[in-house]
Point group: none
Chain length 215, copies 4
DNA sequence: AATGAATGAGACTTCATTCAT
DNA sequence: CATGAATGAAGTCTCATTCAT
């Protein structure tokens, strides 16, 4: 399970001076806006550079292609989101609580970074490798925590990776409704409650025991 | 919650003769292959018509645009998948059993119709309206059943639509792993077991009761 | 010694109808003008299509790239020139006479087909494979004739292929002066006389014999 | 007949210090490699400066444009080759011997300076003026020698410039085969023998006399 | 004397769509 | 009902050249 960007990732070109670094960041920011709002294929390099306030040619000083900046974005988002979630659940008393907090943090975070959600999902069709890496990475870290919680008898036994993926699936599909279709949708709070109950039922050990480190 | 194709859907053009019907189906089949294998944007009308064995111009006798045939495909898949799943769970003794059977049926079905999965997911970026309709439709029907089961005390109370979406999310994210990344993945059976436990834990009423119409 | 277009040559795409054939010829004609006048790299597809009176996209119905039409042109010119020269020397009484006639025919032909000369020479830098094929082909046919003449004792013995190449070299370098730099140049006739003397001295058997296979 | 670089040639810019001179030479060397290996149009200033180990901007301190450095290269090669050939034939006892030695020296020299041959030929399409100057210069010097030899009755009478061009043509076309296509080619020695016979037959006075100082 | 980031014009190529047959 | 040649807009990318440091 690859937990590191495939060697094909990361190798962007580009100046390394102070000024260069600034330009690079401007491009990434502009690209996030474009890709998020218009989607990969409707986005054009020229809009990106316009947004960034640089000439078209400048783009290619930093990224070899449209695909490459997209990939860089996906990697960036992976790091950002994981850091954010880690911090959010840092103080959780139990795995169950971590789940509740984590789900809410995820949805709030996505709401504030509208483009992130869309870009990550679209990556499946733009750069499947990066997409896979994104989720594989996320799920692996997640699974690690679940495995530990299983060890402590806090949650139901089972393949932790599958559990992680299931939890991620719940979060992302709730995202569809609340981030994408958010018209006539019940308030987030109510959905969170139901979802949390679902999740906790899904991972908490069956009442009768079975999660108690036993087996 | 739209449960019917928005008026913008469905209105394909096209002859109604016997021969015409055949051509139309050939085009849809070819499009499914192209879109599934190369993605919407890399697919070209000319490849589709080639695959279908008709001239390029013929395409526009049946569909007004590339987007339109894509949408038609999404609708077709919606019908197909729902029918298939209904039949699969028809004989289930309980909601819990229906879930187990349904999840497995879903994954097996997608495996046999490789392109379906991809096309449905990509529709988010090609025709968000159709995408939304696809899942909204699916979730509504699903929610209906869950609501009934709640009424019978078979499952945990809560917003059935949210439950439905969560269940769909679990299924689709398992699909990512087992349909898309299927390299070094544990056998489907094992994952199904964990996932089923997760799902059933997630929807079954808490042991102490509480699903029984009570509360 | 490849005497047939390498498999990479010849495979142009393109409609095969009557109208298609006409368009194709228009494109080839336009390309010849462009390449001849402005050189391969300064020529642009758009000028070519403009000259031909078709839309830009039409170009790619017939040729896969700028390189491909260039190659097609080189092949076409190879056929044209060889046919012309064959016909010109058909009635020559001896090899020596054939050379004289051939050289003159070559120069006159190039003068009437200004672009041909330039395109063939430039092919060395655009498509070395085609360039090689052009001259290899030309030299092989030529060498065949020389070998036969050697057999008849009409000309000096020696590697006929080398002789052929030398003769071609003389012709092409005379072309430089008389076709390309033709400003303050002595009349063609005078140069032809010197060149013919040179060539005939070069190939005729040494007086004392040496072509002794015959005579 | 221009025997001196047209005023448009030669006027490169550039510092005159010790260090500056070194940089200039590094650039010329790098350009020779690039132009020789990839051709004028595929060569890029940035590769040239990279090879030379200087920054891109530095290039324009020494040459006003890509064309200018190319021209400088052609001029340089002209000087180099002429000097080399002069020296090679210096001790030749007769014009005939000089030709034999000269042809061989030419081919050996080109083999050791692979790029020279290609660059000189390509100059026709990059800077026709420089190309013409290159050959005009070469042919004029050559013709001078031939004229003298005619005077001494050593060689056949005729326009010496045409003779010179013919001889150059033979050499350059032998170069095509032995420098460019050198795969399945007979050993250089054998070709040299045939070519020498050809050349000497071509220029030596007809046996019966005619070169005897008469006229 | 040198640097190297930035520029921006321009080229090739693709492809959804139209239309005369 | 079908054909397939033609269209032309749009987009990615390259690269010679400039300029502030």
């Amino acid at each position: 399970m690859a937990t590191r960007p495939p060697s094909s990732l990361t190798p962007e070109t580009g100046p390394a001076t102070e000024r260069g670094e600034r330009t690079r960041r401007k491009l990434l920011g502009a690209a996030e806006g474009e890709f998020g709002e218009r989607g990969f294929h409707h986005a054009s390099i020229s809009s990106i550079t316009q947004r960034a306030g640089v000439a078209q040619g400048t783009f290619y000083l930093y990224f070899r292609s449209k695909e490459e900046i997209f990939r860089a974005l996906v990697e960036h988002m992976n790091r950002t989101m994981r850091r954010h979630l880690s911090e959010a659940i840092a103080g959780a008393a139990s795995r169950a609580e971590a789940e509740r907090i984590g789900l809410e943090a995820f949805l709030r975070f996505c709401r504030e970074h509208e483009n992130l959600y869309r870009i990550v999902m679209e990556s499946q069709f733009v750069d499947p490798e990066a997409h896979r890496w994104y989720f594989t990475t996320l799920a692996s870290g997640y699974a690690e925590r679940l495995r530990a919680a299983q060890g402590r008898g806090e949650i139901r036994r089972g393949d932790p990776y599958t559990q992680a993926l299931a939890l991620i699936g719940v979060a992302f599909f709730m995202g569809k409704r609340h981030l994408l279709w958010g018209d006539d949708v019940p308030p987030l709070e109510q959905a969170l409650e139901t979802a949390t109950a679902f999740i906790q039922g899904g991972i908490l050990p069956p009442e009768g025991g079975g999660g108690e480190g036993a087996r």
